[in-house]
């Protein structure tokens, strides 16, 4: 060991230690998952390939897919109207996106006077079948408790400052609907094609903690 080791508190694990060759023992949950999926397969409820198919489906959903939807809504007002009216139907029929049966999905549109931001104060409801897994902060107790209480302060911490004449609607996904925010289309992009606009739509802009233009400012 080196002399400069003295700065570390005694008893701290060595941060440079190599990881062990043997995997740590499986947790109780891993055993439970294995037992359950084996049992379901054995009883003919599902096939093992179904699990793989579901994993592939889950991984195919990510913010890039949501960005395609937003860019389409920006460039096709008919699609935008149908998306706002019946998101499930328009996503399936016009974009070939199946949002599954776990929950309904609803799109809400920001405007110059109204800004939406989504939370699930009760747990971590999120439009997973469109945007994939939520970011860690979305599930944090701090975000969930503060965004309904002091949204402007929280948004400012995300770097999003809204003018006082814009009203904020914090959408608490308390039940069967999962919300997708259609952010404002950034100015100066009027003649941009959809595929170029997609790059401006960040994950956070579809949650409402950021603006779509944020990406462009850099």
């Amino acid at each position: 060991m080196h002399d400069d080791d003295q700065g570390h508190t005694h008893g701290d694990p060595d941060p440079h230690a190599p990881s062990p060759d043997d995997a740590p023992p499986a947790s109780e949950w891993e055993f439970l998952e294995k037992a359950l999926s084996a049992l379901l397969a054995e009883c003919g409820v599902i096939e093992e390939a179904d699990i793989q198919r579901m994993m592939n489906f889950t991984e195919s959903r990510n913010p890039a897919l949501g960005a395609k939807v937003v860019a389409r809504a920006w460039t096709d007002s008919g699609f935008r109207d149908r998306l706002l009216c019946d998101a499930r139907k328009s996503l399936r029929e016009e974009m070939g996106i199946d949002v599954g049966t776990i929950a309904e999905i609803a799109a809400v549109e920001n405007s110059d006077k109204l800004h939406h931001v989504v939370v699930c104060t009760l747990c971590s409801c999120y439009p997973r079948t469109l945007l994939g897994q939520p970011p860690a902060w979305y599930k944090s107790r701090e975000y969930r408790s503060r965004i309904v209480r002091e949204p402007r302060k929280v948004l400012k911490e995300f770097g999003t400052v809204l003018p006082s004449d814009v009203s904020i609607r914090v959408l608490d996904s308390t039940a069967d609907l999962r919300y997708l925010v259609i952010p404002n289309r950034p100015g100066g992009t009027e003649d941009w094609p959809a595929h170029r606009l997609e790059a401006l739509v960040s994950r956070d802009s579809m949650i409402g903690t950021a603006l779509a233009s944020d990406q462009n400012d850099k």
Binding site: E104, T121, L122, V148, R149, E150, P151, R152, K153, S164, S167, I168, R169, V170, L171, D172, S173, T174, A175, D176, L177
Partner: protein, 104 residues
């Protein structure tokens, strides 16, 4: 045909009764008054589904807007901002004009 008890624009209060177990009416909105913005349709009752029951009868689900001051009183961050939550019919009662808006 079962009709929803409330219409868009109705003022409704969230019940304050204690709920045992799984429930989708958040505590911070209990006793608060909001305005029905949309009727989502009927969904299975999550308070039953959580315990592997069929979740019947299905319950009407409403999108209800609560202006910041109606939830947080004078401590509200901004009076024109609001929280919007989806609430099941059996947690809501209609508020008539003469009632105090936010008695808890």
């Amino acid at each position: 045909m079962i009709e929803p008890r409330f219409a868009t624009g109705d003022r409704v209060r969230v019940d304050t009764r204690p709920a045992k177990g799984h429930c989708r009416a958040p505590f911070y909105l209990r006793g608060r008054t909001g305005v029905v913005e949309a009727i989502h349709g009927r969904y299975r009752d999550p308070e039953q589904l959580a315990y592997h029951r069929p979740g019947l009868p299905m319950r009407f689900l409403y999108r209800v807007r609560f202006d910041q001051p109606s939830v947080w009183g004078r401590e509200a961050e901004n009076s024109t901002d609001a929280v919007v939550a989806d609430l099941f019919e059996h947690w809501l009662t209609r508020v008539t004009g003469r009632e105090t808006a936010n008695a808890r």
